[in-house]
């Protein structure tokens, strides 16, 4: 019996310790001198908190900033786990309206900012339609992170095109012709049949701006959803969707596309282009500079005219249906469990307002003037040669830019390109994208969140997404693809359509 007492005591200590750890995670209420943020990083390493950028950021905003960076690739997982934990940040970068996010938002996990943002000069957006896209059925749960709405581009080996005496593609039919010529006419001139047209990596999911999505939009299938006979239907239920996939399948069958497109590692996407195997990439236009840089690194004296590009292509109907994104990449949401009162909320919104001021936007996107860049003719010129401090800043801003919202347009300096050629390409890109913007086909259902879709949308979409890849690979015939679309409907898609249409009708009233 005597021996039992220490055990009891130990048990008490253990449970007390457990209780303490459980509470330790919660932020003390209304102490907002320090702001906790969760954000994704895309670089190999996240910035360290004692870096110059963070110091300056704390100075400009007047807050202690505590950022927990999570790798971009697994950010969604980490975010869901964080939301389920007791350690919730004050500001959370949400990458999209994932079911996990929507469920939490509808249960009241995040502040509804619909009527609040207009009170803050730097948060009152100049793109109200994008804010609507980023909302959950009209309710704004965060400050969206603005992105160029038009980014779709076709990149091709300009040197191959010139050698074969072809013109840059303007229509999808041109794309086929160029891809065929790149495959069959020995564009690298080595006498061997070792090239192909388009490289597509493992990238199946629907509505993720994949090459398939882009080509389908160009054919006129709409963008995720499209209006047919006064109703919204998913793009994959249109005839144009089938036409587009037949078109892609024809290219797969004729070996104009890399045969391992279902498994090809997306991180190696540039390699066939650079190594002279596959001459075309269909992706966002920012890849143009990435590709040019590859050639530049390999041969600084001869990298011009290796990479050519055009924007969205005209479909078989002769019309340009440009493929836009939703104009935002997630948003900065404010969880209620860490920001408890309206006063705290004002505090955090004031902080976010400062985060989008010109000074901070320049800091997070350009860096620190005089350390890593100087302003020349309204452009940010990177200081060369790079000093050690400048290098840290240059690396860090790539991550801090993730916190930028730019809802009032880009307040920072455009980056001055390294050479005249690159500056010209950059200006061309801006011009092409601005032109495509006029013909952008937006997703009419972007703002709508249907409960059924939240519950099982991803499984549903997977049915069609996998069938699409299988059809292209020849594992399914066209009837099989149509059956998969039917299965989408019978497994719950019918309900999704009903709900989306109802939400759509409601907004029209």
């Amino acid at each position: 019996m005597i021996r039992r007492k220490p055990t009891l005591a130990a048990a008490v200590v253990v449970s007390a310790a457990l209780a303490l750890t459980a509470c330790g995670g919660e932020a003390p209420a209304s102490d907002l001198s320090s702001v906790k943020i969760m954000a994704p990083f895309l670089e190999a390493q996240p910035p360290t908190p004692d870096g110059a950028v963070q110091k300056k950021l704390e100075e400009l905003t007047g807050k202690d900033i505590n950022i927990s960076w999570a790798p971009n690739a697994s950010y969604e997982d980490k975010m869901n786990i964080t939301l389920a934990s007791s350690d919730i940040p004050h500001v959370l970068v949400v990458q999209g309206k994932s079911p996990g996010f929507v469920k939490n938002a509808e249960a009241g996990a995040f502040w509804d900012l619909t009527d609040k943002l207009k009170d803050y000069p730097n948060l009152k957006t100049t793109f109200p339609e994008v804010q609507q896209n980023a909302s959950v059925n009209g309710k704004v749960y965060g400050v969206f992170r603005a992105r160029n709405p038009i980014r779709a581009a076709v990149m091709f080996r300009q040197d191959w095109l010139d050698k074969l005496g072809l013109k840059a593609p303007q229509t999808t039919e041109d794309l086929y012709k160029v891809a065929k010529a790149f495959t069959e006419q020995d564009p690298d001139g080595n006498g061997q049949n070792d090239t192909y047209g388009i490289t597509i990596p493992k990238w199946g999911a629907l509505g993720t701006n994949s090459p398939y999505d882009m080509i389908e939009t160009w054919f006129g299938a709409g963008n995720r959803w499209t209006e047919r006979d006064g109703k919204l239907v998913p793009s994959f239920e249109t005839e144009e969707f089938l036409q587009a996939d037949r078109f892609i399948k024809k290219m797969v069958d004729e070996k104009l596309i890399n045969p391992d497109f279902a498994t090809f590692d997306p991180t190696k996407w540039n390699e066939p282009f650079f190594n002279g195997k596959g001459g075309i990439i269909v992706d966002v236009d920012s890849r143009v500079s990435v590709l040019i840089n590859l050639f530049k690194q390999a041969n600084p004296s001869d990298f011009q005219n290796k990479v050519g590009f055009v924007g969205s292509l005209k479909g078989p109907d002769g019309e340009l249906h440009a493929h836009p994104t939703d104009g935002y990449s997630g948003f900065l949401a404010i969880p209620k469990s860490s920001v408890k009162t309206e006063a705290d909320l004002k505090n955090v919104l004031t902080f976010l307002d400062k985060l989008n001021s010109k000074e901070v936007a320049v800091l997070m996107n350009n860096g620190i003037e005089g350390v890593n860049f100087t302003v020349e003719e309204g452009l940010a010129a990177t200081i060369k040669p790079e000093t050690p401090e400048g290098k840290v800043v240059n690396t860090d801003i790539k991550s801090y830019a993730q916190l930028g919202t730019n809802v009032t347009g880009n307040n920072f300096y455009p980056v001055k390109q390294a050479s005249e050629y690159e500056q010209k390409v950059f200006d061309d890109r801006v011009a092409v994208m601005a032109n495509d913007l006029k013909s952008a086909v937006y997703n009419p259902a972007a703002a709508f969140v249907s409960p059924t879709y939240v519950a099982k949308g991803a499984q549903l979409d997977n049915i069609v997404a996998d069938a699409r890849i299988k059809y292209l690979a020849g594992q399914l015939d066209e009837q099989g693809l149509k059956d998969a679309i039917k299965l989408w409907n019978t497994s719950g898609g019918d309900k999704v359509k009903e709900e989306i249409n109802k939400l759509w009708q409601d907004t029209k009233k």
């Binding site: 055990t7 253990v14 786990i81 045969p259 279902a262 498994t263 469990s337 997977n462 996998d466």
Partner: protein, 324 residues
Amino acid sequence: MTAPVVEAKAPGRAASTPPAPARRRSFAVHFAHYKWLYLLLLPGVAYFAVFRYGPMYGVSIAFKDYVPFLGVNGSPWVGLTNFTDFFANPDFPRLLGNTLILAFLNLGIAFPLTIVLALLLNEVRLSVLKRTVQTLVYIPHFLSWTIVASLSFLLFALDIGPLFQFVNGLFGTNVDILSDPNWFRPLIVLQEIWKNTGWGTIIFLAALATVDQDQYEAAIIDGAGRFRRVWHITLPGIRSTIIVMLILAIGQMLNTGFEQIYLMTNALNRSVADVFDTYVYFVGITQGAYSYSTAVGLFKSLVGIVLIFGTNWLSKRFNQSGLF
């Protein structure tokens, strides 16, 4: 180790047939007598209570519509909705089939191979050679699945991978092994064999060392050849180890290596690749459907328990020795 415990318990149970009061007193006496041993047991019990049984309250979200913001207690109860949804889902038969097929393939091919390899190693008399081979076959176990998957991608790369050329040459075909659904299962089993067969031999080799050497001598005098000796002495000698390992393997069976399968999955082979574990990750973690995926995970555990008890029951029926 387990068998003697079971036997030691049996006489005690037989002795405690007297009426209840006497038995209770005898328990108090028994407890007083063994109090130090019970004290030693305490940390183990505490560990299981706190870290194994405690978290199980989280399983309750399988019967709720869990929203992280509302917490486990605040989320509404939904009864068996998550389970009925899962059983009605067209994915269900596919997941169950894929999981079981892969599990039985691993069990039916990889498990016996471990024993075969252990027997082969046991027959090697040159101890330098034996140790070298042993060390070499252990090495793959220490490579992560990510590396194994990357190696497979290199070796089976379309048109250029050396094994791609070899296999297609062998069968006179031209298929992309990495995305062909028919090749998915052989590939997974092959990886499993490559990675874990060597490591699995450790316990069998230990058991083989305990087989009575006199019996071999006697058998040799009786004129038994190598295979006879393996069949009639070695295998019966390690039978109980085999059965214990088999039951343990079956307990782990449904945990069809998440990482391995996740890394080898793509849109073209998903129809045969989706197993419970990857599905739970896909709908639970990436889509935030916590309740639903917990229900799926719980169902998987139930199947696992049924399999363990089933095997234990079968082995008892045939050999009179089981794990418990």
